[in-house]
């Protein structure tokens, strides 16, 4: 007999306001319908009514766990529409900040993922404190702890402060040490591995058909990363390597993100070694008189959660239309298929491994 159960919209394991309606037969999921839209704020409409540089704060609230990444994606789109080159040093600084943001975002995901599969709050407390060390670095660089708004047309609002180099290296080696501890702690724990291995398998063919992106795509054996395939800033100078796993289950997605963090640490170190001297400041907001050079602009960026594609139709004063392809929206659409046939408790292992942010899903 099929029973219908309702989960959410307010539930500790849904990471936001997500409602899941599950049809279960015994303990097996027959069908699962995600209901979204509780956090829909109409950002795509809102940006059409604001001037170009009034919009970055709204962009940051889409993905409130990795605000810097969205901020950068939007500003880069405007730069492309205006035909502005980013200053040499600013490109390096942006790469460093984006990779630091990626580590911070993945650390928060790791804690909540462990929570979802029953490792209650031990790992979460560790990763949350570690994430704060990175947020402190980003605060030094931008002046704000969570919503930075430090990208400007052609550069940044401020350069890296003196002594940032040493402090960043200190934090990175600390996190590197802690990463080993997390891996030992989680991968030797049968409670964690048995809930992750073989759960929510997404094959290579289905991953492409469903259009999933980011770590979810790479965990299914597809070697696609915007940083490698369509490199921006200085990623090609840093010898960036993609992290791919072929199993396609929750454990593979966990492993891909862990390896990505290690890779990000390496990238930040390499960028700190090679960063050139010079000017990194962007134009002051008041001096900008945007006139669109390219009316239609598409721009891809690899955010912590996957590929974000901005499609902008530019106007002289404000965006005529900005369409945001948010990574978690399409990843969540795949949840229905991934959770079919699994046990009820595994729904959260799978949705946790997708790294959902509801602000990003609903926009």
């Amino acid at each position: 007999m099929v029973t219908r159960i309702n989960i959410g919209p307010v539930h500790p394991s849904t990471h936001g306001v997500l409602r899941l309606v599950a049809d279960i037969d015994g303990d097996t999921v027959v069908n699962l319908e995600p209901h979204i839209g509780f956090l829909h704020r109409g950002v795509e409409k809102l940006v059409e009514t604001r001037m170009y540089m009034q919009n970055p704060p709204y962009m940051e609230k889409l993905d409130y766990v990795a605000p810097m990444s969205y901020d950068e994606a939007y500003v880069a789109t405007v730069e492309k529409a205006m035909g502005v080159e980013v200053k040499e040093r600013a490109q390096w600084v942006r790469t460093i900040l984006l990779e630091l943001q990626r580590i911070a975002s993945h650390l928060l995901w790791l804690g909540t993922m462990a929570n979802d599969v029953g490792q209650f709050f031990t790992v979460f407390m560790w990763t949350f404190t570690d994430r704060d060390r990175i947020l402190r670095l980003l605060e030094e660089a931008s002046g704000a702890r969570m919503f930075y708004v430090n990208m400007r047309i052609g550069g940044l609002i401020r350069d890296l402060p003196p002594g940032f180099d040493e402090r960043a290296r200190e934090v990175l080696s600390y996190i590197e040490k802690k990463m080993k501890k997390y891996e030992d702690f989680l991968e030797k724990d049968p409670l964690f591995t048995e809930r992750m291995k073989g759960v929510g398998v997404l094959s290579r063919e289905r991953a492409i058909a469903l259009g999933v992106t980011g770590p979810v795509l790479r965990a299914s054996g597809i070697n696609y990363d915007v940083r490698k395939d369509n490199p921006y800033y200085v990623y090609d100078k840093l010898g960036f390597q993609t992290q791919v796993r072929s199993d396609g289950d929750c454990f593979a997605r966990y492993k891909v993100r862990m390896l990505e963090m290690t890779e990000s640490i390496r990238l930040v170190r390499a960028a700190l070694d090679k960063i050139p001297e010079g000017d990194a400041l962007g134009m002051p907001v008041k001096l900008i008189l945007p006139s669109a050079k390219n009316r239609m602009v598409t721009l891809s960026r690899e955010l912590p959660r996957g590929e974000c594609l901005m499609y902008m139709v530019a106007d002289s004063q404000r965006p005529y239309r900005l369409s945001i392809r948010s990574p978690t929206f399409i990843n969540l659409a795949a949840l229905k298929e991934m959770s079919r046939g699994c046990k009820t408790a595994d729904i959260f292992a799978i949705s946790g491994s997708l790294d959902l942010i509801m602000g990003d899903v609903d926009r």
Partner: protein, 122 residues
Amino acid sequence: MKIERNEITQKISAMKAQGYSYLIKITAVDYEKYIEIVYMLRNMEQNKDETLEVDVDPSDAWIPTVIDQFDAADWYERELFEMFGVQVKGRHVERLLLEKWDGKPAPLRKNFVWNGPYETGS
């Protein structure tokens, strides 16, 4: 690449046969005189992106579904219907996905005024 509405299904199938097997996004832009539907496809092997654009009349806005070709089109087409009022023919949709707004005009059309009468109720 600009195409006509009646060639959507055929063109999308042809593109898929050429290796454009990954659907990035289906979106739309309201140019008031016409609505432009944008299909973005990717060829993963050759690392190439292709865009297909279709113009439809705002008063008779509909497109055929491409869900048979791309499973990823499911939520994008539903979003398109709710945000732009573009009917998607050839598929069944049970409920609204994003907004619980069933009035007219559709929110992302240009005749939907920001902070206008539809939201304030005046």
